[in-house]
Every structure is written in structure tokens, then in C-alpha cells.
Amino acid sequence: MMLMKRRDFLKVGAAAGAMASLYGCAGGGKASGHVVVVGGGYGGATVAKYLRMWSEGSVQVTLIERNPTFISCPISNLVIGGTKTMEDITVSYDGLKNKWGVRIVQDEVVAVDAAKRSISLAKGGAMSYDRLVLSPGVDFMWDQIPGLNNADAQAKVLHAWKAGPQTVALRKQLEGMKDGGTYAIAIPKAPYRCPPGPYERACLVANYFKQNKPKSKVIILDANEDVVSKKGLFVKAWEDLYKGTLEYRNNSELKDVDVKTNTAILEFDKFKADVLNVIPPHRAGDIAAKSGLKLINNRWVDINWLSMEVNSTPGVHVIGDAIFPAPTMPKSGHMANQHGKLAAAAILNLLSGQEPSPTPVVMNTCYSFVDAKQAIHVTSVHQYDPATKVVQPVKGAGGVSAARNEIEGKVALGWAKNIWADMLA
């Protein structure tokens, strides 16, 4: 299959799709057809692998991803803090290609025609699908921060909220900063990707300053009323480890940036930093709106929790950070992986003429480092509730660490190794 030209592959895909429909009427044949997955992050890579694995190769899968390799957001704050390298958080797509027979296309989807079940690619050409999975992550609402609404400004005031060149660039800014300087991180109102991530980053930058630039300061400008995730544990780490180095300011929503002077403009206040790191508000990755999917609050995709299929658009499934989340569900890589498995199971049922499982379960585990070695976690389990038609958090389950510790730091790195393998190897 991997040796086929694209055209032949598509013919086979279409034929398989037709077969699936035929068997579908009989109810419960083997799944077949062509699934196109857009986005090879935590969600997309997982759904691609699990579709191939669980169908034992009978479903064709094409993964369209613009980057040549996977770079992980989780653990990337350790690169910014200076204790890990980009190499440590980069994984090849070769496992998906060679071991699982996923066809990888390095390109970008520019349009989706859901009625014709086809997509158009930036480099030209179209591709048809029986089922489409969008795992587009988030894009930023630059219009909310006028001063940053251009490429030059965005190259100077970084977000580093998508791991890659910005991760490296932010690290360089911190390395170049003089001792006695100030790093400020602006956090948008929830929901945003990785709720504890900004607080983890603040800890790891403070850790770097403490050891290398002890006169320097970290300021957190949080648009939220309070610390969004793992509050008690972060506050304790700030008091115990970073007193005098790190300052937290709540209700400090960033309204604009004066890029020339590196100044964060708040509603009633201004704050000039040597390194200004702005995480803008997010919405579903741009392809969601471009595909004509109905968005909740003009931001997030409304999906059916039995299948991750978009309520407004049959045949299109959306997973990961782009969806309107269930109650207490974080936008995390771990959760995107779980969405990917839920979607893979449902799609294989649908492609063989069966209903999706009526009892899906997803769970989340998220570790945050508070220094180079110690970590804290939050975890939750979500079971489908037929009354609300949503996966609801199980009461009495889940929770946070009793206290920060080095064991969880080790487990966090073990988690990364295992989830990267679960997606990509």
C-alpha cells in the first residue's frame, strides 16, 4: 500500500468506502474505508495509529501534518527552563508510517467540502474521505491584542504556546536577558490549552533565574481571578522555592502590548518587562471555522461525545483542544490522546455499520514540574452520562498530589515516554 501512488490509493480508498456502505447495511462487517486525519499532534497521531491497529490494517489512514516531526508541548517548559533540549521533545513520524502503515502527507489542509467528503491541500490537489478527523489544536485570537496583530510583533513578543521554533526563541530571550531583569508571562482567561502550563513555566523560569540570574524576577499577569489549576500546590511552591523571585497578580488581563517598549497594557495598569511572554486567548484551530463547522461562542467545536463527530457536520470528527470541553475537562495532550481513541473506536463501528459504543470513558493525567526535578499532578476520570449526553467527571475520583515530590518528576518523564510511544511507535 505504501508504494502506491496517491491516485491508486484514493481509488482503493473509495472502493473500500463503497464496500463499507454495502456491508454497513448488513450490520457489522469488518470496517473498511479511508479516514483522513488532519493534524499529527497528541490527538491526530493517536487516532491514526489506533484506526490502523484496531482495524488490523483494513481501514486506510492518511495523516496530513504540516511539520516534519512531532514536537511535544508537554515537557517543553523544561526546554524553556534550560534542563531539556528540543531533541528530548521531538519524535519522528516514521513509526506511524513504517510500523502502522499510516500514509503521512506533509502539507496543510486549506478547505473541507463536507458535502462531497473531500479536502483541498495547500500544495494543490484534493483527497476524498469516508470519515474526516480534525485534530487542529488551537489558533490565537490576535485581534484581541491589537499591538500583536502582525508578524513582526509576534516574532518579538513570543507565546511559545505551540512547541517548536518559539520554544527555542523564548529560551534564547531568557538566556540573553541581563541579571536583574524581569520576565512577565500573561495568561488568558480560561479555557485555554494546558491549564497548569503557564504556572509551570513561571516556576521553571524562576528556577533558572534563581540558579543563574539571582537578581531577576518573574511576574505572572493572570487574567483569571485565581490560579486556574493545582492552586494550593503552585502557591506552596512559589512560597517555598521562589519567594522574592516570583510574583503572582490575579485579575490582570492583558488588553494590548506596546511592542517597542515590551510593555504589557492591562486595564488600569502597565507593566514593562525585559522578556514579555504573552499567551493570547485561543479558539479552535483555524481549519475548524474555515470548514464551516458551527462553533460555540465562536471558538470551540460542538461534538457528540459518543463519537467525537461534529453535531453540525456529519462525517467530520473533531478531537483535542479544539472542542467545546465537557465539565472540568482540561485541554491537554493526554485528553487529546483519549479523544483520539474514543474517535477511532466509534469510526470503526460506523465504518462497519454499527453504532458507536454507548459507554465511552476518558481520563486525564497531567504533571507539572515546579523545579527541574519535582512535579505535581492532577487527574480525573470522565464517564458518559446518557441524561446529559456528556462525559461527566466521576465524583470521588481524581485529584491532585499530596505534595510536590521527585518521584512524580520521574513518573512525569516516564509518562512522556509512554504517551509518545502510544501515539507514534
Binding site: 484496531w54 493526554h334 481513541k341 473506536a345 465511552p360 476520570v381 470522565h382 509518562w415 509512554n418 510511544a421
Partner: protein, 101 residues
């Protein structure tokens, strides 16, 4: 090979009268929620410090889970996660991992 735990599960679910008793992939789907940390089909990455579950005796897995759930066995996160699954679901998960080679 993969069907064995499923068959066992069917009996169990029929006994509980669950409407989804006919779902042959339930154990597989539930076990996949553990794979982020414990590896695809329970094959954790060697040296990652997280327990592999593939091929581990079902009774042994169930005992561990029961001890996590009751609090007898101290844990960093499994005492919190195990409480999120019903005993029937844990039985399916343990059976699935035990059947993996």
C-alpha cells in the same frame, strides 16, 4: 486470543443486565484509556519506570486495583484514577491486559 476476555466479559455484563452487553470491544476500549501511561495494550516502554500490564495475571491486576481503590496500597495517582471506574470495568480492563502477549 483477543476474544477470550471479551467472552468472559459478556457473561459478566449479561449478569449485570447492562444494555451494552453485546459490545465486543468494550474491554479493548476501556483498557486503551490506561495506555497513555502503561503502554499500548499494556506494553510500557522498558525503563520508563511505569508498570507494564501486558500478560500480567488478571487476579493480580484486580487485587492491585482493589487495593488502590480501598486505599490499602499507597499510590501517587492510581488511588485517584481507580475510583473513576466501576468494578465491572476494572474486571474487563484486567482481563484484557492479562490476555495480551
Amino acid at each position: 486470543m483477543k476474544l477470550l476476555p471479551t467472552v468472559a466479559a459478556l457473561g459478566l455484563l449479561a449478569a449485570t443486565g447492562a444494555a451494552h452487553a453485546a459490545d465486543p470491544n468494550l474491554a479493548r476500549n476501556l483498557a486503551a484509556t490506561c495506555a497513555n501511561c502503561h503502554g499500548t495494550n499494556g506494553h510500557a516502554v522498558p525503563g520508563s519506570g511505569i508498570d507494564a500490564l501486558a500478560g500480567v495475571d488478571k487476579a493480580k491486576i484486580l487485587q492491585k486495583l482493589a487495593d488502590f481503590k480501598s486505599g490499602v496500597k499507597p499510590a501517587s495517582i492510581m488511588h485517584q484514577i481507580s475510583k473513576g471506574y466501576t468494578d465491572e470495568q476494572l474486571d474487563l480492563i484486567a482481563g484484557y491486559f492479562a490476555a495480551q502477549k
